[in-house]
């Protein structure tokens, strides 16, 4: 069986707790898709829920709010990993429940 547990944990720890240009608080908020102010909250909400709707204007607004390109890079990465993580953990919990009752 493929085992991504360690590699996935290392990825999450790296983007949330390692060195970066965005603050740890900003990265965590993007990962959680919670606690961000406009206009960044709109960008991050789109990345998490329907990334195909992200526009050039969303990025322009994030820049205008004072974020550098590196900071935007980091928080978008965190938002994508955060939503994929919630999906993954929810599905594993459902699998665990299904296996237990079998």
């Amino acid at each position: 069986m493929a085992d991504i547990r360690q590699a996935r944990k290392a990825l999450v720890v790296r983007v949330l707790e390692g060195d970066g240009r965005a603050s740890h608080t900003q990265r965590r908020a993007a990962f959680d898709n919670a606690g961000l102010a406009e206009p960044v909250s709109t960008l991050i909400q789109k990345v998490a829920m329907h990334a195909y709707k992200v526009t050039d204007e969303d990025f322009a607004a994030a820049r205008t709010s004072g974020l550098s390109e590196d900071q935007i890079f980091e928080i978008v990465v965190c938002a994508a990993i955060g939503q994929a993580t919630r999906q993954y953990e929810q599905a594993l919990a459902s699998l665990e429940a299904a296996t237990r009752r079998n």
Partner: protein, 193 residues
Amino acid sequence: MRLAILDSGHGLGTKALFALIHAVSRQPVLDVIKLVKYRADFYGRPMQGVTQEAMRGPSAWSVGDRELMAALVAKTNACEWCTKAHTATAEGAYRNEAKVSAVLFDLETAPIDEPLRAMLRAVRKLTREHGVSTDDMRAVLEAGVSREQIEDALAVCFAFNTVARLADAFGFYAPGRKAFQAGAKYLLARGYR
């Protein structure tokens, strides 16, 4: 791409590598490569560890099955770039274009085994609805898919639910079919390292 740093913010060594890739493949360097090579210690390298294990690690699913799952995750996310990339890779792995097209067109009528179909239904639902129920998972188990196989498929979902979001958010440029086929050939020969 929407961030200039992802297009041209790489170090000189990486830029030289891109020039080499372009010279050898005679195709543009794919935006996904530019993404994973930009400040690779932040995202690219740790993510490649996850993706390599999910897509090429030991599994009862074949490489083609996992590439097909990736293509379905991409399509369900409405991510054109990743759909094209992993459709090409699944076609190459299976050596069967019709099978991949059939699954992406209509999962219910595609000529595939029932365990894979059941797994793909759950992959699609997890991606579309951001979750699956206990009953959904039980249906996959009852179709003959092992718990380990389901975990393997969920690992593929994790990787491509991340990558598809980044492709769309950063605005990956979709090149022609030949570039995706060259990328697919590389992924089948070398994996995601």
